[in-house]
């Protein structure tokens, strides 16, 4: 699968500091996004630590020499899914330990949503209320479940989705990295198809922009970085009350046969001119 990606982060219109952090590792097709919390500059510390730990653990298998996988894992999961999940457990522990060691950082934490693409397999690891979406044939599907109080109340039938959107409890999370020494990580594996679009974003986007608008923007704008920029601009137009981060990943068609041989050259040239993406 040919993968093209881009990511953008923005402080928004209200806040003065950006507590979000993201990383695109093109060589691995690894995409990581974290939204920090904890006041002062500590949210930034937590989200950066989360992203750094995940990227390190995934890049260097030596860190995770086989048997040292952290947390529960299903035997059916692929090696990469296991490693990604283990990396999230590790990030949780790193943030928790850092907060314990530095009293002024006490209470810092981060949400984390990571996607790792291996051929046609997509691994997702997730904690918190950032989201991963899949746009397939015009249908936008949320791949992750929000670990927020209001989302849990919707799942239990106490609130309707509309009531949840109005709730003042939206910022109350049930799970985040760094809050407890041990954590439950949501892990999922999906099969990717040509022309799928995967998007990771923090709640700064989804509280300001509706899902149909996200689907429309992703379909209209082919360049991933520009699509991310347009979504951020839309969130800022609506008030931009929180930091906004968006990663867009487009899955290209399988390159094979005389047809792609014919057009492959032109495509390569176009890709070289496109924005590189990443931070």
């Amino acid at each position: 699968m040919r993968i093209v990606s881009g990511g953008v982060t923005d402080v928004g219109r209200v806040r003065t500091n950006n507590e979000d952090c993201f990383r695109i590792v093109e060589s691995l097709d690894l995409f990581v996004l974290a939204d920090g919390m904890g006041g002062e500059a500590h949210g930034e510390v937590a989200s950066a630590l989360a992203v750094e730990t995940i990227v390190k653990s995934c890049m260097d298998p030596g860190v995770d020499a086989g048997a040292t996988l952290v947390g529960n894992s299903e035997p059916t999961w692929s090696e990469k899914t296991k490693r990604l999940t283990s990396a999230v457990h590790r990030a949780n522990k790193n943030i928790y330990d850092a907060a314990e060691a530095n009293p002024e950082q006490h209470g810092m934490g981060a949400t984390l949503t990571a996607a790792w693409i291996d051929g046609s397999k997509l691994s997702i690891a997730h904690v918190g209320d950032s989201r991963a979406y899949l746009l397939r044939s015009g249908n936008l599907q949320q791949l992750t479940s929000d670990h927020s109080l209001v989302a849990e109340q919707v799942r239990r039938g106490i609130l309707t989705a509309a009531e949840a959107e109005e709730s003042e409890m939206q910022s109350v999370l049930l799970r985040a990295l760094g809050a407890l020494p041990d954590i439950e990580v949501d892990t999922d594996e999906h099969v990717l198809f040509a022309r799928d679009i995967v998007m990771l974003c923090c709640d700064g986007l989804t509280r300001m922009v509706t899902e149909p608008e996200i689907a429309g923007t992703l379909q209209a704008e082919i360049d991933p970085t520009k699509a991310a920029e347009k979504l951020i601009a839309l969130a800022n137009e609506r008030g931009g009350v929180d930091n906004i981060t968006v990663i867009v990943v487009r899955v290209g068609a399988e390159s094979r046969g005389w047809f792609s041989w014919l057009f492959g050259g032109a495509r390569k040239r176009a890709a070289r001119n496109g924005a590189a993406g990443g931070s």
């Binding site: 919390m37 249908n139 791949l143 109080l149 239990r156 959107e165 049930l174 999906h190 198809f193 300001m208």
Partner: protein, 241 residues
């Protein structure tokens, strides 16, 4: 000045102003706002001003204090809020001082607690317990093990029956599709069935499926027994116990 109106159904039972002194609410008659109901604790809650904000505080009542359907221990009140105590509710009229106005815009009103916070284990357990008690009925309905299944009743596919165990199901000719459709000129992704929080939704792929004979353009929630037709394949969507 802020005013509290005790309501029972649509009738106003009593009105009290909130001044510098806290207004106590409870079943005991010595409260500023007595509520005569067995579901109400003797000293149930109180309302007072704190730093210019009107605040309601639950006094460890047995059945809880709810602000606009959400159980609270302590919450800032806004003009037009309702405090629910048992079967009664108390309307909050803070229009006189309007210290904390609501944004009424749907999207603009979203983040009222600005800082994201994580519930600690104790608070989380309590909130979830409360949530579980209210949502018990729904939980049980979802708890029974029902596996959504596609039963092929017409057309050529690689299996006769498919259990939808994944969040995403693709129907099409693609080798990676869950439901593989056979034959010439079939689309790689004909349609898709996705699991959401409240059920299973069918959406179009390269073709537009019909559900019970009606063509669909966007995601449509599937019900037990629905008949899906796509690319010459006819399937029954059922929940198997």
């Amino acid at each position: 000045m802020a005013k509290l109106s005790l309501m029972f159904e649509e009738k106003t039972v009593k009105e009290v102003p909130v001044g510098t002194r806290p207004v106590s609410i409870g079943r005991s008659p010595d409260n500023d706002l007595p509520v005569d109901n067995l579901a109400v604790s003797n000293y149930h809650a109180r309302v007072y001003f704190e730093g210019g904000r009107l605040v309601v505080e639950d006094l460890d009542s047995l059945n809880g204090t709810f602000v606009n359907d959400l159980r609270v221990e302590r919450a800032t009140l806004h003009d037009g809020d309702s405090i629910w105590i048992g079967k009664h509710h108390i309307k909050v009229d803070a229009s006189g001082d309007a210290p904390v106005p609501w944004d009424t815009g749907r999207k603009a009103s979203a983040p009222r607690i600005n800082e994201t916070m994580v519930l600690d284990t104790k608070a989380r357990r309590e909130m979830l317990q409360q949530a579980a008690a209210t949502g018990e009925r729904v939980q049980f309905a979802a708890g029974r093990l029902k596996v959504p299944t596609l039963v092929v009743v017409g057309g050529r596919t690689d299996q006769k029956e498919y259990m939808l165990t994944n969040k995403l199901t693709v129907i099409g000719k693609s080798a990676m599709a869950t439901v593989k459709v056979k034959g010439w000129f079939k689309p790689a992704i004909a349609a898709q069935i996705n699991q959401r929080d409240d059920g299973y939704y069918i959406g179009p792929g390269d073709k537009m499926p019909t559900v019970n004979g009606v063509p669909i353009t966007g995601p449509v929630r599937l019900n037990d027994g629905d008949v899906i037709e796509i690319s010459g394949v006819r399937m029954n969507f059922i929940f198997r116990e």
